[in-house]
């Protein structure tokens, strides 16, 4: 079992987004080593939730990090934090490895796709602001909500399964998750528009 700590404002955060951009633009090995030393153990812990503390978790971590290396030029700092982008890569590999069914995704190049109507000029600034605010807002959530978010994000469990294992009505699980989500969204809304 891997312990998690609450994000705090004291965390010294090297600029992971800038490192990722350097890997994407120049295949910068030094930047990648810093990223690897930071994210690899976290990704491995994420994989170990389903793979157990095994070689399989190590292999899935290596698959994730090689994908980070190969696709880094597609990382767009205007869309969000480096940790978010790496989380989505790890999540997709974990779905492929452990689930029978697929996780269908929309295609932004599909002619029927309805694009955002946001002025691109503000996006990089906005995305960085949002990730700092999200980090701060997470630290203000009550423990029970953080614990529930961890269950929802890190174990491959449906909300009904979580409810059964916590001996809680499904409605309570849903409403607590919803409360956490609404609270985070409200924290971001106060400081700019994320509706």
């Amino acid at each position: 079992m891997v312990e998690m700590r609450r994000p705090t404002e004291n965390d010294a955060k090297p600029n992971m987004a800038a490192l990722l951009v350097a890997v994407g633009a120049r295949r910068d090995v030094d930047a990648f080593e810093l990223l690897f030393r930071h994210f690899a153990p976290r990704v491995k812990a994420y994989m170990a939730r389903l793979a157990g503390d095994s070689q399989a978790a190590e292999e899935l971590m290596q698959e994730t990090m090689i994908a980070v290396w190969n696709k880094a030029d597609r990382f767009d700092p205007a869309k969000g934090a480096a940790s978010t982008w790496i989380f989505t890569i790890a999540r997709n590999l974990r779905v492929d490895a452990f689930r029978r069914d697929k996780r269908p995704e929309f295609d932004p190049n599909d002619p029927a796709f309805v694009p955002d109507d946001v002025a691109p000029a503000d996006e990089i600034f906005e995305a960085q602001e949002v990730s700092v605010q999200l980090h701060q807002a997470m630290a203000t959530l009550p423990d029970e909500q953080v614990a529930l978010l961890k269950l929802a994000f890190f174990e491959d469990h449906t909300h009904s399964f979580i409810a059964t294992s916590l001996n809680m009505p499904l409605g309570t699980v849903k409403s607590r998750l919803r409360l956490a989500f609404v609270k985070l969204r409200a924290a971001l809304d106060r400081n700019g528009d994320v509706s």
Partner: protein, 220 residues
């Protein structure tokens, strides 16, 4: 197009976490293709995943692990040249969006509908999960959605035309999220057939071999 009926938080969180079954995910992803507002909420949900990853307490990665990775990237072939994406195809296309179009294998004009009686028809959509049943429904203008007694959750995403349910109107992109406690009678708006994606909890498995045998015939 103004979407009024959006994804619930629990669907978004499960989809962002990667724990939502394929059938529900298909409705979620197809709504996301049509709804910039929910894509923004998805970004927040994925941001929570990123923060939780960031906050994981770990011991530092071993040097042997990094050495293995370093050897691997030294051997990795040069990055393939990205094929230029080009300008996006003309927008405001109102057919079936991806990922749904690939699941049904074509667009609205080319579909092979199976009659459900009383003018309504359906197409079954295959997924690899065992918890959902997924179909495309075509409801004739002015008619109610047929065989509408479900025992669990039901997501209905409108793709063409519209339907009314009580006071609420659902048009392209709108999603209705109904549970067993809701008695409702969605009815296609007069003037145009309504095409929608319907995802429901998989039907209960009946114990009797006889009922099991006629289940496919009844389409329940």
């Amino acid at each position: 197009m103004t979407i009024r009926h959006h994804l619930s938080d629990d669907l978004l969180v499960s989809y962002a976490a990667g724990s939502l079954a394929e059938g529900w995910s298909l409705a979620v992803a197809t709504h996301l293709a049509l709804c910039p507002a929910c894509r923004k909420r998805l970004a927040l949900a994925e941001g929570i995943g990123g923060e939780l990853l960031e906050a994981t307490e770990v011991s530092p990665e071993t040097d042997s692990s990094w050495e293995a990775m370093r050897r691997r990237i030294a051997q990795s072939p040069p990055r393939p040249v990205e094929t230029p994406r080009g300008a996006p195809v003309a927008r405001r296309y109102d057919g079936l969006p991806e990922p749904l179009r690939s699941y049904v294998g074509g667009d609205i004009e080319t579909l092979r509908w199976r009659s459900l009686g009383r003018g309504a028809s359906q197409i079954r959509i295959q997924t690899a999960d065992t918890e959902t049943q997924v179909r495309l429904l075509r409801i004739p203008a002015g008619k109610p959605v047929p065989e509408h007694s479900h025992g669990g959750r039901e997501l209905t995403l409108v793709l063409s035309g519209s339907f009314a349910d009580g006071k609420d109107l659902f048009a392209r992109g709108d999603i209705e999220d109904a549970d067993a406690s809701l008695t409702h009678t969605p009815t296609a708006t007069p003037g145009e057939d309504c095409i929608c994606l319907a995802v429901t909890d998989a039907p209960l498995r009946f114990r009797s071999w006889f009922v099991r045998a006629i289940q496919p015939i009844l389409g329940i």
